[in-house]
């Protein structure tokens, strides 16, 4: 496998313009002869489907939800970055580019990131024109805030619902195209497999989640906008249905999977309350501006927090990182929390939680001011936990949040399978080893609105696309495989539910391949994952039939893929024998606890190629060149 990023030559700031000029165009009248299938209708998928339909392509879009408006992009709270420099505080495309490369701990492509920073400006223009009600100043111009420790205010926001408003903007654009008959929308259809014909991706097979029907769909190109795989940890801030199936199927059909071990942990989530827990809820990181994080000094001190005197509390972030204290970066504060809990000093019923205490802030600025700043977050916390954070400290714990890894794509967002594209969180491209706050929305929309609709034309203009339909033998083969898999699951009639397997896998992954990783832990995971998988395929039970709406079958199919994918993630974590960004190998740390990168051996993208069932995949490397941002060590001491 050759990993050719197809990076245009020339200075980084000219690459995209040059590439757009070099790309082949398709005559407007001919565009309607091409059909593109878009799987997933979140920010990336909806934006891409709408933009391509507008250009004149036939588009069919697929979602497993009942409506495109439900995709999990909707849950992003904080905001979206754009290098507009509206605040006149010295921001620029160069600065956003620089911050993103550095924030990604030098594991992303400069060319891609520069393009992202460039089109970030168009995104805001586009969204405002669509009627997205961003926050405004009294003068009527757009408001910005500083986010995630950035030194400039470049984050645009719509209250705490920025993701929702941007998704609804893309959904509106998509609705217009669906209403005009230019996009055919398939709801409640889950992708089961991609179909390659002569090495080129020509379609997908789906399962109708209401009737159970397995159906084939052909296209001239396929776009996967199917999000991340954070649910491999079972508990995460992802939505319940988020899964790896689409990207993992693509991987099994020849698309390289890049950097699967780059998974981001968010430090401020509401901790697990018991075994019944189904998901973790994220609390905005802004809470750390006023809250102080602590745990009891004594192991096993389970007095209620107000009974623990000041001198028996350990404000561990303030102690370990005096200059950043409670505002230390996501990965550092996450790991510190895990450390104190592993020592047995965690709080709450499960012992996996730390206090986020507002009493000092309330004493300083008054309860009213705190209510004004965080009122709705406090309400949400109280709704979920039943505790009043004005009176008793909040309990927080880190949770899996975003996955930087994904399908390997070139500069055109095409995977190693010709015709198969991946956008948004589903690809690996722009965030390197760590994503900055308010950058996920930016990347999803950049890919969907401004990059893919151009680059896909270049592919379609030159690709060898014979006329095909869904009667082709490859479609029948993929349909049969999907049906066989379902039949196998339905015939197992064992004694455990798919949720119990998923939970078992998630606990193992969180424990051994989660926030902090080491060789022996990863190897342990690698030996246990196949055992869980084996039991799954012999002791699973799914009631009902495949020919109806069957929620436990849906879960089982997704869990089956997680059980294979988890091993890939672990392999990647094992072989990336360095710490970088969110990937924290306990063997490679600076004495101060900061991640120790190994640029000599690991300044590359690791892309894994599938070799077959139970065979270790092959790890390919794409070397990363840094011509504009110089390799440097992050330090937050």
């Amino acid at each position: 496998m050759i990993l050719d990023a197809k990076m245009p030559s020339g200075p980084v700031q000219d690459k995209w313009d040059k590439h757009r000029f070099d790309m082949k165009l398709i005559n407007p009248a001919n565009k309607r002869k091409f059909k593109v299938l878009v799987v997933g209708t979140g920010l990336g998928g909806a934006a891409a489907a709408a933009s391509m339909a507008e250009l004149g392509y036939q588009v069919e879009a697929f979602t497993y939800n009942d409506s495109p408006r439900r995709a999990h992009s909707i849950a992003a709270q904080g905001g979206i970055n754009a290098a507009k420099n509206y605040q006149n505080d010295g921001d620029s495309v160069w600065r956003l580019f620089y911050d993103t490369v550095k924030g990604g701990d030098f594991r992303s492509r400069e060319g891609n990131v520069y393009r992202l920073a460039m089109v970030s400006r168009n995104i805001i223009d586009q969204c405002v024109a669509q009627g997205v009600p961003f926050a405004r100043e009294y003068g009527g111009l757009l408001a910005n805030r500083s986010f995630g420790g950035a030194q400039v205010s470049r984050t645009f926001y719509a209250r705490g619902q920025t993701g929702q408003q941007l998704l609804l903007g893309a959904y509106s654009a998509l609705s217009k195209e669906v209403g005009g008959g230019r996009v055919k929308m398939h709801t409640r259809k889950e992708m089961m497999d991609i179909v390659n014909i002569d090495g080129v991706c020509r379609g997908i097979v789906t399962r109708d989640m209401v009737t159970g029907k397995i159906e084939s769909h052909w296209g001239d190109a396929v776009v996967l906008a199917t999000g991340g795989y954070g649910n491999v940890f079972f508990l995460s801030t992802n939505a319940q249905a988020c899964n790896v199936t689409a990207t993992y199927r693509a991987y099994k059909k020849g698309a390289a999977f890049a950097n699967p071990c780059f998974t981001q942990i968010h430090p401020t989530c509401i901790p697990v309350s018991g075994d019944h827990q189904s998901k973790l809820t994220l609390m905005s990181e802004s809470l750390r501006n006023d809250g102080r994080i602590w745990v009891p000094k004594k192991v096993g001190d389970n007095r209620s927090p107000e009974l623990i005197p000041e001198n028996e509390r350990d404000y561990y972030l303030e102690r370990k990182y005096p200059s950043f204290g409670n505002l230390s970066p996501r990965d550092i504060s996450s790991r510190a929390a895990k450390e104190v809990c592993d020592e047995g000093r965690g709080v709450g019923a499960t012992g996996y939680g730390v206090y986020l205490d507002f009493s000092t802030a309330i004493a300083r600025v008054g309860q009213e001011m705190i209510a004004e700043r965080y009122g709705n977050l406090f309400e949400m916390y109280e709704r979920i936990t039943g505790d009043n954070p004005y009176k008793t400290p909040m309990r927080i714990f880190p949770a899996s949040h975003y996955t930087m890894g994904g399908l390997w794509v070139d500069y055109n967002l095409m995977t190693t399978v010709p015709g198969l594209h991946a956008i948004g969180e589903a690809n690996f491209s722009d965030h390197g080893a760590n994503r900055l706050g308010a950058s996920a929305l930016m990347q999803g929309l950049a890919d969907g609105y401004f990059i893919l609709p151009y680059t896909i034309g270049n592919y379609l203009a030159q690709a060898p696309l014979d006329k095909i339909d869904t009667n082709h033998a490859e479609f029948k083969k993929a349909e049969d495989e999907a049906s066989a898999k379902i039949n196998k699951i339905m015939s197992l009639k064992g004694k455990r539910t798919s949720t119990s397997f998923h939970r078992e896998l998630g606990l193992l992954m969180w424990d051994k391949v989660g926030m902090g990783r080491n060789e022996s832990g990863i190897k342990e995971a690698l030996s246990k994952i196949p055992q869980i998988r084996e039991e799954f395929w012999s002791n699973l039970t799914v009631p009902g039939s495949g020919a109806e709406l069957n929620v436990s079958l849906e879960r089982a199919l997704r869990t089956a893929d997680f059980l294979e994918f988890a091993e890939l993630l672990a392999w990647d974590a094992l072989e990336r024998d360095e710490s970088c960004g969110a990937h924290y190998r306990e063997e490679h740390i600076h004495p101060d606890g900061e991640a120790k990168r190994d640029d000599t051996n690991f300044a590359h993208v690791a892309a894994w190629e599938y070799q077959g069932e139970n065979i270790k995949p092959v790890r390919h490397q794409e070397q990363l060149e840094f011509e504009n941002v110089h390799l440097a060590v992050r330090s937050y001491k």
Partner: protein, 250 residues
């Protein structure tokens, strides 16, 4: 906690459904309502029974997928809260809870508590957008918008499209949903060009889908997890009247 659940069970759109009782003996008050149903479903699966189907996804109150009526109130008893954010500590030990799907002609039941809400998507397709070609927008700050109007537009835009308004309305009306989208765009300068076509298109589609008419019960606002105000419905009435009377004028 011990609970008795009466749940609407319906195999598919073609068969009749009925209320079925279940007893749950180990409910913890820290569970969310959906986690309580998860527990029930795990039990049902292990017994070889069909688990209760319900729509859900983000479980943090923003995707709008969850759709069930709890003791006659969509999303249950807690104000401004979706079912996924409702926790069992709001219920009493020994209580009986009736769980039914969202009811309206325009939301046919697919299975158990799962209903088809694509009618909302079809309404959106008739004008719930501002036409702007990708990449052709002017600089965002060339369109100043007063903070007041931007905030009001955001109040309307906060709708999560869950359909609780329809489910709560004794008439099965979708006026709150439609009015939220119509008003969001009517309040913004970008929305003016297509203003009349939008309101006429969306309202006509709303009627074609079989949603009822508003008779000002205001149950929709009470059930709305985002507290979208009924004042938008009042505004929709006049928007629609004006648009109908002047659509052919210049």
């Amino acid at each position: 906690m011990k609970l008795k659940l009466n749940i609407w069970r319906q195999k598919n759109a073609k068969t009749d459904g009925k209320m079925t009782s279940y007893q749950l003996n180990h409910v913890e008050e820290d569970m969310s309502f959906l986690e309580m149903l998860d527990i029930l479903n795990e039990d049902l699966i292990l017994k070889g029974d069909d688990p209760v189907a319900f729509d859900h996804d983000c479980r943090e109150g923003i995707c709008g997928a969850c759709s069930m009526t709890i003791n006659g109130t969509p999303h249950g008893p807690e104000k401004e809260t979706t079912t996924c954010q409702l926790h069992m500590r709001k219920f009493k030990d020994g209580q009986t809870i009736n769980i039914e799907p969202f009811r309206a002609k325009a939301f046919p039941v697919i299975k158990d508590l799962v209903v088809d809400r694509n009618a909302f998507d079809r309404i959106m397709q008739k004008g719930g957008y501002i036409s702007v070609r990708t990449g052709q927008a002017q600089d965002a700050n060339n369109i100043p918008i007063s903070k007041k109007n931007a905030d009001l537009a955001m109040d309307a835009a906060a709708c999560i499209g869950c359909g609780a308004c329809v489910a709560a309305c004794p008439n099965g009306a979708a006026m709150l949903f439609v009015s939220a989208k119509v008003n969001q765009f009517a309040l913004l300068p970008q929305g003016q060009i297509e203003r009349k076509e939008r309101v006429i298109g969306m309202v006509n589609q709303m009627e074609a889908e079989g949603f009822g008419a508003c008779t000002n019960h205001f149950e929709c606002e009470a059930a709305c997890p985002k507290s979208i105000s009924v004042k938008f419905i009042a505004k929709l009435n006049t928007e629609y009247l004006k648009a109908t009377l002047t659509k052919n004028s210049f």
